[in-house]
Amino acid sequence: MMGGVAYPMLTVVTFFPLIGVLVLLFIDKESKNLIRWVAFITTVIEFILSMPLYFRFHLGTYHYQFVERIPWIKILGASYHLGVDGISLFLVLLTTFLTMLSILASWSIEKHVKEYMISFLLLETTMIGVFCALDMLLFYLFWEAMLVPMYLLIGVWGGPRRVYAAIKFFLYTMAGSVLMLVSIIFLYYHHYKVTGELSFSLIKLLATPVPAVVAPWLFLAFALAFAIKVPMFPFHTWLPDAHVEAPTAGSVILAGVLLKMGTYGFIRFCMPFFPHASLRFTGLFLVLAVISIIYGALVALVQDDMKKLVAYTSVSHLGLVMLGMFALTLQSVTGGLLQMVNHGISTGALFLLVGMAYDRRHTRLIKDYGGIARVMPIYSAFFLIATLSSIGLPGLNGFVGEFLALVGTFKSHPVFGALGATTSVLSACYMLWLVKRVFYHEITVTENLSLKDLGFREVVICLMFSIPMFWIGIYPKPVLKRMEPSVAHFIAQVKGEAAMAIEHSPQAKEKMSLAAYLVEERKVEVRP
């Protein structure tokens, strides 16, 4: 494998936040500032630690890099197996980046600061774990474990309906992913039956094609888990609730990283595992993606609550990512992947900015604002930049991803590409309308007259967000170059294996119903 680094970089990156947790445990909970600084410094170091991943990443190979592998549960064949490739690299970086800024944005939290920071650091570890894990069991562990800190973040530090939102978030996600667990187990044993080796290794499991008769079902089980996380229409309703109720930083992470896990799941697991089934369901997912795009945008258009609006835009944007992925061209997938990063940055920034307004006015209703560009010029400027990034204005990051995804989609599915492109108009509608109602016009609400503009800390946050927006918008090549080999490999995997699966699947099994297959399976087992 590539990247023979001397020290376990990924382990360090994944678990470093836990050191911060340990330190926090021994700090008196009343010294809030110390707690904040410790947490912040932890995430800064974490971010710095994750930078070498970018710089030492080998270009031109799709193999996993910085791989670490030690046996974990020998009897199950599970191993502690980490690695990143072009697909996950930027998601890891995005995570460390966003977490750092989220902590910085959480300075205004006054309630249970210690617990808050601990939850956040735990969340960071689990999120990075999800993106780095190359062992299915390890992946699932991080995947579900992540729910707990997020549940607490929403439920403890959230808004008025936080409990409903938190429980809905938890249950919805969990309900989706349990079926995936069954599928993972099935794959695991299928691999065992074929090769005689117990292993959860992603690479090994990928090498064992699944019988055509069960593949669609397994695919759907995986897809359900990920589609809920994405969230795709019609599984999206947890998202507005969760976003609206979550604390600002929670929303940032939720939108910035958690949603990506869904799309990441599709590209890393769902589609490569079941290429044949993926192709079979392409139509369905393209339709759902387009519905998500348009529907999310239209619903976002008419929201009264800023956060809810931004939440629905996530539905729309992630729909675009899904569209790109299922279109299965190099450009569309790369674009989708880049769009994941972009969405994390721009929507993260938007949530943060909405949160800053909320900190000042304690309302997120659009009608309570209006004309604040006059009193908060810096804020407005940054909001505008984030808006433009979000609506895909050329020169900013959103455009590159959006255009690539759409141009690639158009290449293979012109109609969907064209329908997906409506996002450019719709996003302009909802975002600019929002900007107009919040920032423009005269100030009608007197409280707004005395709003303070951003402080130093907030400006720093916004600047940090702006840098990647411009960078990816103007010079995305380093990013794209790192993604490309992995994406190409992904496409080859899906398309190539799908072709093989069609060739090699025996007709008899093809026609067998699932029930019959299961009975057959059990018979094999029953034989004494």
Partner: protein, 482 residues
């Protein structure tokens, strides 16, 4: 089968003898010792358990059949013994504070727990149904007494009464089943039954016997539809005892169930898998759904334990060595988290267990963060969040189910576990997301803290690095037919 000569080796009984002696010592010291040292009996009991555990552990890897082949010492019996010792130890750690506050800190309590453990050990070491039955009765009778131990409390009495009648009824059914099996096979040795079953066609009477025995088992593990006693008894019994009942008996009965099904009547698996499957589904559904509307945390835990029995039965329905290992592992995990939960309940409940509503936990995290964290960890583990023992247990059980082709059952199980997350989360939500309504004035006995620490460590250990325990439980089922 001809009558075997008595094998004289008493070695396999050493741990049990230690326990018996400890139990007797407790009673004698109580009879002749000074007043007011009741808690010390608990520590004496702990010492006994530790010694017994050490002795049992030393036997790891040995395999022997003794006492005319009625007693088996194998990995399963040792590992389950160790689990009982652990459970009993944790229960004892939770007890002194609780009993003192209930003014029932009697030596008999500790003695009864130790004797119950003796019964448990014999249950899983039995190769003969009669030995099992007598062991079961030792356990049951201890539990009847323990359930009603705080005799001045209404609920305690009621719990004891219900447990007594229903337990007695189940015992009678179990006996009837044994009688039927005996009528067909002519022996109550597992091996003899197995020998008979392999070579003969199943008769209606034999199936009836098996089913009745299974009913007895199901009753003890509180699987639906034989679960009805559980909520009432767990709800009424003193919280530490409820924890003990909910865990120890289940571990033992699952162990025996696996021995019985996996060894004695394995060839009839088509029949018993169907039975186990149905019961498993019923348990999961009834347990989880009924728990959704519970306000009383003890009853909630009871319903949850019904559901957990259902999950574990998935592993039984897998009818494989791996399934057995999974069930064993699951039971260990389940024991830890349930003991932790009941332990916290015993602390928060205060005198007379007046605070056992879920709403009584509002804001606990703000007042007792460590206690709340322990409770939350137990509950997340019960909900099956990865990284905890509960997840690993569920995972392994479901894995065995999938491997055995029981996919519909596993799907039902995972969906149920998603439903279950709701009520677990509700408690966590109460602790963390509600404002405290009261002051939470209660003292936490240091022993209870130790127990909670052990439990939390155990939960994470089993959840993150379960390899050793998994291997051990896998190797415990080497005898499993397949």
């Amino acid at each position: 089968m001809s009558v075997q000569m008595l094998s004289v080796s008493i070695r396999p009984l050493l741990p049990v003898i230690v326990l018996l002696v400890t139990g007797m010592m407790v009673l004698f010291m109580d009879a002749f010792g000074a007043e007011g040292r009741e808690s010390h009996y608990g520590y004496l009991g702990l010492a006994g358990l530790a010694i017994a555990g050490w002795l049992a552990f030393k036997m790891w890897g040995t395999h022997s059949l003794s006492f005319a082949h009625t007693l088996i010492t194998d990995k399963l019996s040792i590992i389950t013994s160790l689990i009982y010792f652990l459970i009993a130890g944790l229960t004892i750690l939770f007890s002194p504070g609780y009993l003192r506050q209930e003014e029932r800190n009697l030596a008999e309590y500790y003695a009864l727990i130790l004797f119950a453990v003796v019964g448990l050990v014999f249950m899983t070491s039995a190769q003969h149904l009669v030995l099992f039955f007598v062991g079961l009765e030792v356990l049951s009778i201890s539990l009847y007494a323990l359930a009603g131990f705080v005799r001045q409390r209404d609920l305690c009495n009621e719990a004891a009464l219900k447990y007594l009648f229903l337990g007695g009824f189940a015992s009678a059914i179990l006996l009837m089943g044994m009688a039927f099996i005996y009528s067909v096979t002519g022996s109550l040795y597992f091996q003899d039954v197995a020998r008979y079953v392999i070579h003969s066609h199943p008769s209606v009477a034999l199936l009836l016997g098996i089913v009745l025995v299974l009913v007895g088992f199901f009753f003890k593990v509180s699987a639906a539809p034989f679960h009805a006693w559980a909520p009432d008894v767990y709800g009424g019994a003193p919280a530490p005892v409820a924890g003990f009942m909910a865990t120890a008996a289940k571990v033992a009965v699952f162990g025996v169930m696996l021995r019985f099904l996996g060894m004695a009547v394995y060839p009839l698996k088509v029949h018993w898998i169907a039975v186990v499957t149905v019961v498993s589904v019923a348990s999961m559904v009834i347990g989880n759904f009924a728990a959704l509307r519970q306000d009383n945390i003890k009853r909630l835990l009871a319903y949850s334990s019904i559901a957990h029995a259902g999950y574990a039965l998935v592993g039984v329905a897998a009818a494989s060595r791996q399934g057995g290992a999974a069930v064993l592992f699951y039971m260990l995990a389940y024991s830890l988290m349930n003991l932790g939960a009941f332990g916290v309940v015993s602390l928060v409940g205060r005198k007379g267990e007046r605070y056992v509503k879920i709403s009584d936990y509002a804001g606990l995290a703000a007042k007792h963060p460590v206690l709340a964290a322990a409770m939350a960890i137990c509950f997340f583990s019960l909900a099956g969040v990865p990284g905890t023992a509960g997840f690993m247990g569920k995972f392994y059980v479901f894995a065995s189910g999938v491997r055995a082709g029981q996919i519909p059952l596993v799907v039902i199980a995972v969906l149920n576990s998603a439903v279950a997350a709701y009520y677990y989360l509700r408690v966590v939500y109460m602790m963390y997301m509600e404002e405290p309504k009261e002051e939470y004035v209660f003292t936490i006995h240091p022993a209870a803290v130790i127990a909670l620490v052990i439990i939390v460590i155990g939960i994470f250990q089993l959840g993150l690095i379960p390899g050793g325990v998994l291997s051990a439980s896998y190797s415990s089922f080497a005898w499993f037919m397949s």
